[in-house]
């Protein structure tokens, strides 16, 4: 299982989609689990919105032997009902749901909602619902609370089914062969700082295994960015319209400047966090859809291959 985490606005959902598709292209059936409701994931695959019921976002079976990407959401309320029903408490479960008691239970034992969701994820993982489960975790701050819930509950609830559940979840989270966390960030100062903080908290407080960090939104390199537009046009025998040289120059300066800043942040991230990095480009083309997801998936696969090839 792979947990994708990162602060809001860093493209966590896009990365989730790209990872899932990369795995599917490599022949692994993949299930994406969403825990926060509408994220735009279905739009990325050009599909209608989905819910608690599992749907196929991207069918496999292509010429390259790719597998399905499926997805579903998991909410604490649904997970609680299902849990109670599975534990022979279906009669009270409906009453609980309608009385607002879920809130009370959740307040009495914080983290219980999270553990129910994670418990369900663990169940799906155990059942082997897919070769790879990709969990789109809640946004940064809450991701830590979310993943810490298992350890917290072990202390708060010493006996009973919740204790067992928390124990099982923690076992999954801390087993490097079963679960890894991929953190996503933008090559900018604040997101990088927050990523580093999140990484250390997750490792220290939860004990999860951190996989490569995904740096999203890097401007791709282009030829001629440092060239003088007029000289470059002459060299290619091209003709510039009036005022065009200035536009070209300003746009190039902007990109060079942003690229320098991005480079600095990437270097700083590498210095402060000893984790391998995967880089994804800023996508300039119109809005993201299945084609761009496939493009990003390809780049991720290449990136992973490079990491593996490194000594």
């Amino acid at each position: 299982m792979l947990i994708v985490a990162g602060k809001g606005g860093v493209g966590k959902t896009t990365v989730t989609a790209a990872i899932a598709r990369a795995a599917a292209l490599a022949g692994l059936s993949t299930l994406i689990i969403e825990v926060e409701g509408k994220s735009g994931l279905s739009t990325l695959f050009g599909q209608p919105a989905f819910d608690y019921e599992e749907v196929v976002l991207s069918p496999g079976g292509g010429p390259a032997g790719d597998a399905d990407v499926r997805a579903r959401t998991l909410t604490p309320d649904d997970a609680l009902l299902e849990y109670l029903e599975d534990h022979g408490m279906s009669r009270v479960s409906r009453r609980l749901a309608s009385s607002g008691a879920v809130d009370m239970v959740a307040t009495a034992a914080p983290g219980i909602k999270d553990i129910l969701v994670l418990g369900k994820v663990k169940q799906l993982e155990r059942e082997g619902r897919a070769d790879l489960i990709v969990l789109d975790a809640p946004a940064a701050g809450h991701a830590i609370t979310f993943l810490r819930s298992a350890r917290g509950l072990l202390d708060a609830v010493r006996v009973g089914p919740i204790n067992t559940q928390a124990r099982d979840v923690l076992e999954m989270l801390t087993d490097p062969t079963r679960c890894q966390v991929a953190l996503v960030t933008l090559p900018e100062e604040t997101p990088v700082n927050e990523l580093v903080e999140t990484a250390y908290s997750l490792e220290d407080e939860v004990g999860v295994n951190l996989g490569p960090v995904v740096v999203n939104g890097l401007y791709p390199e282009l030829p001629g960015l440092a060239a003088d537009p007029e000289a470059a046009a002459r060299a290619a025998g091209a003709f510039l319209h009036a005022g065009e040289a200035e536009s070209l120059r300003q746009a190039a300066r902007f990109r060079r400047h942003r690229m320098t800043l991005q480079g600095e942040q990437v270097a700083r991230l590498a210095e402060t966090l000893p984790l391998p990095q995967l880089h994804l480009p800023f996508v300039f083309e119109a809005d993201l859809g299945p084609e761009e997801v496939d493009l990003l998936a390809g780049l991720l696969s290449d990136g992973v291959a490079d990491l593996v090839a490194q000594p």
Partner: protein, 374 residues
């Protein structure tokens, strides 16, 4: 109150200044990661520059920005930020727990009762676990600052919620939670009203105990017993907070970024606010990409293609990239601008670096409030 749409569209910045002068409270709302905290700080800074005695309530600011404003940790009281401006600038970082503690102390009959609640484990969990508590406490803090008086302008940042109405609904949500019929049943047995305890409540207690353990249930019961009688005070207070949020001199500012997903969320916020009869008074869009020329992106892209492999081809490709982004951003915003009209739309460009000091805030201010021309 609402000025004519035409003037707003022509000179949005003038109206944004007006908004600070005419309103007592400015609420910055929007989804996470769009620069809400920074925007709130810039608005407050401008308030102080306009000679107003201003306070900004921030929620989880980036560390360096917090340091720049002299905020070293969560605090319940405002710290003064020194600077060269005619007004005053104060800042505080919302402390959900201690705000809640104050609220409990205010409503408890006596010190002992307050102490019982504050020490209860179930109570201590509320501020961390019950959804909406942070939103509620942000609004509660706002009300406190308003009641204490002394500030001409209160600017408040909001937690990154999915739904703008969480602020409006949070107080009610909590009072509903505290005043639930079910808890009355939970409280009843130890009061000796054995006959009043119905079978369902017992079954419920047994179930919950089986799942989470008896200790947890005992904590909860003790809490509700201690809390008994305080609900009305909380409810009245929640209504007052609501009144304040819907008051004429409270302005909601929607903060967004020009990405499609963010704009969609912002549109959802605007719609919810509208349903609650709260108008969006300004839309601030951060991180706009610059538009380097008036040419059509497709034409420039085509030119890049014909010159592919040369330096000038690369330069055209780069220009086409940014023209594409700028065009998309404007397209995304068009619908949202319409939805919040006649509220002005203020665009803040991508900045050279992240904001972490007062100079950075001042730079953004030049975009939100350009110096008066003419």
């Amino acid at each position: 109150m609402t000025p004519p749409a035409v003037s707003l569209r022509e000179r949005p910045e003038a109206d944004l200044r007006r908004l600070l002068i005419d309103n007592h409270i400015v609420v910055c709302t929007g989804s996470g990661g769009v620069g809400k905290t920074t925007t709130a700080a810039v608005l407050a800074l401008e308030g102080a520059r306009l000679g107003l005695n201003t306070v900004v309530v921030t929620i989880d600011p980036a560390k360096r920005l917090a340091n720049a404003m002299g905020l070293e940790g969560l605090s319940n009281t405002a710290t003064r930020v020194d600077g060269e401006w005619p007004g005053e600038l104060w800042a505080l970082m919302l402390d959900t727990k201690s705000t809640f503690d104050t609220l409990v102390t205010t409503h408890a009959d006596d010190a002992e009762k307050a102490e019982n609640i504050l020490n209860n484990r179930f109570y201590r969990n509320i501020s961390g676990a019950l959804s909406g508590t942070q939103e509620y406490m942000a609004m509660e803090k706002l009300y406190e600052l308003h009641e204490e008086g002394g500030f001409d302008l209160i600017v408040i940042d909001t937690p990154p919620t999915r739904n703008a109405l969480d602020f409006i609904e949070a107080p009610r949500h909590l009072t509903r939670f505290l005043d639930h019929r079910l808890y009355r049943l939970l409280v009843a047995p130890t009061r000796g009203l054995v006959k009043a305890v119905n079978v369902a409540a017992q079954a419920f207690l047994r179930t919950v105990s089986r799942v989470v353990g008896g200790e947890v249930v005992r904590d909860a019961i003790t809490f509700f017993q201690a809390f008994d009688g305080m609900e009305q005070g909380f409810k009245d207070r929640a209504e007052l907070v609501l009144d304040l949020l819907t008051h004429d001199e409270t302005a909601f500012v929607l903060v967004a970024a020009p990405r499609r997903d963010v704009v969609a969320e912002a549109a959802f916020f605007a719609e919810k606010l509208n349903e609650a009869d709260i108008p969006v008074r300004a839309l601030i869009v951060n991180r706009m990409h610059p538009r380097f020329s008036d040419a059509a992106p497709e034409a420039v892209r085509e030119r890049a293609r014909t010159l592919d492999g040369t330096e000038i081809g690369g330069l055209y490709a780069n220009l086409a990239d940014f023209l594409t982004v700028a065009t998309n951003e404007e397209e995304h915003l068009a619908g949202l601008a319409e939805r919040v009209a006649p509220a002005p739309v203020i665009r803040v460009p991508f900045l050279r670096s992240d904001v972490h000091d007062l100079d950075g805030l001042a730079e953004i201010a030049t975009h939100l409030f350009p110096p008066p021309t003419r």
